[in-house]
Every structure is written in structure tokens, then in C-alpha cells.
Symmetry: C2
Subunit: 135 residues, 2 copies
DNA sequence: TTTGTTTTTGCAACATACTTGCAAATATAC
DNA sequence: GTATATTTGCAAGTATGTTGCAAAAACAAA
């Protein structure tokens, strides 16, 4: 059984053609991808199916969301053991101002912060903008 | 001359009715506001005028952007000396998972990060999710 | 305080991102 | 192979953001 089917089965998700194709695409991409990217690449799939599949993958901890300033949500495959109970891969993301690609910086954990009295932190997002290795 | 007019004049922006109302609203709000919030509150203003005004205020360093996981851009008044040449108020933002409001945590600077070889950071966004003081 | 110039606004139309309901199709378990 | 529950595709709708252009408003200077 291939990797994608194992990932789906482990989350009790049916191995449908759409899911296998979308997951394969996500795994093959070193950068975070937007819905539009999936749609362009897998053009035979319905837009709504792609939205729903990404949403399902999020819930099941297969992928995580990265929000940048463009308004379009991007997604990347989780590197560690995430599941329906939560995401456990709090790492920094890097967005290149030249190529505009977002990548996970898995080697760097998000540093903790001393918040003012009364604020209880749960999780966080840290996005660094700059010029990436490749550019 | 009122505060809002001084702010506009200092940036060489004409003191129009729309700008004065939108800026007053932004200043009166302790949380980050979305375009939709402005539209609901100042319902006599045209949608496009609000978009353009927020965009102008961004360029002139009057407000800054906060991106969260909802896809809708939010804005908050800059606390320090920002201008057309750039924003200089790199602070942490906090989004409450109960009331869903975003506020600036002006007292905490974004901690620096040691990026892998080859990455050149320029600026960053750090958003912490959790339960706020009020909730 | 009127006039001329430049900026801003409002409208129409468009573009992109995302959601919901429902019937038909498909995956899985038996 | 059949029953059942899940998933998909289509249609339609909502939310968010943009662009071009003519009319209106702000400002400066006579």
C-alpha cells in the first residue's frame, strides 16, 4: 500500500481518487499551496471537492494552515504527529518577498513569549518575511 | 484642530469626511477591525471608499495589517512612529478564541529567530491564539 | 471668495475566495 | 454482491477585494 493510502487509512478516511491525488500533490510540494494551486494542477477535480478535501485534511491533522497577507489560505503537510485531537508542529514559516513562496522552517520552534497578566496562550503563528535561500 | 485632522495633515492627506469618520472609528476601537466592521458602523460610506481609505492609511503608516486564519484582513492603528517609509511597530498580536477579537500586545517585541543558512529576514508577523484578559 | 487644479468619491462591473444543499456516485463492510 | 454510509459534482449563493471612469469635493492661489 502506498504512503498516501496509509495516511488516509490511519485517519479513518476513505481512499477516494480525489483525496489520493490531492494528498500526493501536497506531499510532492516543498512550498505551501493554495486552493488555486491544487485546482490548476488537478484541473479535473471540482472546486468544491478541493475545498472540502483540504478542510478534511486540516481537521484530521494531515495538513496545517498558513495565513499570509494575500487573503488566500495556504496549506502545508504536517511534519510531525498531528491528528484530529490537534496540531503539534509549532514551527516558524518563511515567506519569500521575491518568489512569494512559503516554506516551513522545521528546525526552528516558535519562541515563547511573556504575555501580560490575564492572557492565556494556546497556540501561535509566526511568519517571517524575507529573501529565501533560493532567491 | 482635532487629533484626526492632525494625523491626516501630517501625512499630506486631505481631510475628507470619509477619512475623518473612518480614522475616528479606528482610533476608538481597542481591537483590530475588518473592512466589514467599518462598513457596518459607517453604513453611509461606499464599500470601495472604505477599501481605498484603509489602503491609503496602510501606505501612510497610520494603520497596520493583521492576518489571521479567517481570510478577512484586519487593521489596527499604529502605536509608534510609522510613516510612508515603513512600519516600525513590530509587536505581537493576540487573538482570543472566545471573543475572536484581535488586540495588539504593545509591550512585547517579536523575538528574533536564528534562521537556517541563506535566509534573510526582513520583517515578521507573530499572532498568538488563546483566551484574553476579558474572557 | 471665486476660480482652477488635483485628489477623492461613488457607481458599475468584475475578479477571486469560500460556503451550502442536495441528488447521484463511490468506498467500504458484511 | 448488496446495503449503508460517505463523498462527490453541480447549482447557486455569500463574502472579499479590484478597476475604470465621471462627478464631487478639497485645497491653493489669485
Amino acid at each position: 500500500m502506498q504512503e498516501v493510502q496509509q495516511i488516509l487509512k490511519a485517519r479513518n478516511l476513505r481512499s477516494t481518487q480525489s483525496r489520493k491525488e490531492i494528498l500526493t500533490y501536497l506531499l510532492s510540494n516543498k512550498y505551501a499551496v493554495a486552493h488555486a494551486d491544487v485546482e490548476k494542477t488537478l484541473s479535473e477535480l471540482d472546486r468544491v471537492t478541493i475545498y472540502r478535501t483540504l478542510s478534511t485534511f486540516m481537521e484530521k491533522g494531515i495538513i496545517h494552515q498558513v495565513s499570509d497577507d494575500t487573503g488566500a489560505t495556504k496549506y502545508a503537510v504536517c511534519s510531525h504527529q498531528c491528528d484530529s485531537l490537534g496540531h503539534h508542529d509549532e514551527h516558524v514559516h518563511f515567506k519569500c518577498v521575491k518568489c512569494e513562496q512559503i516554506q516551513c522552517i522545521d528546525t526552528v520552534e516558535i519562541p515563547d513569549i511573556d504575555l501580560p497578566e490575564g492572557f492565556r496562550p494556546l497556540y501561535s503563528n509566526y511568519l517571517i518575511y524575507g529573501v529565501c535561500k533560493e532567491c
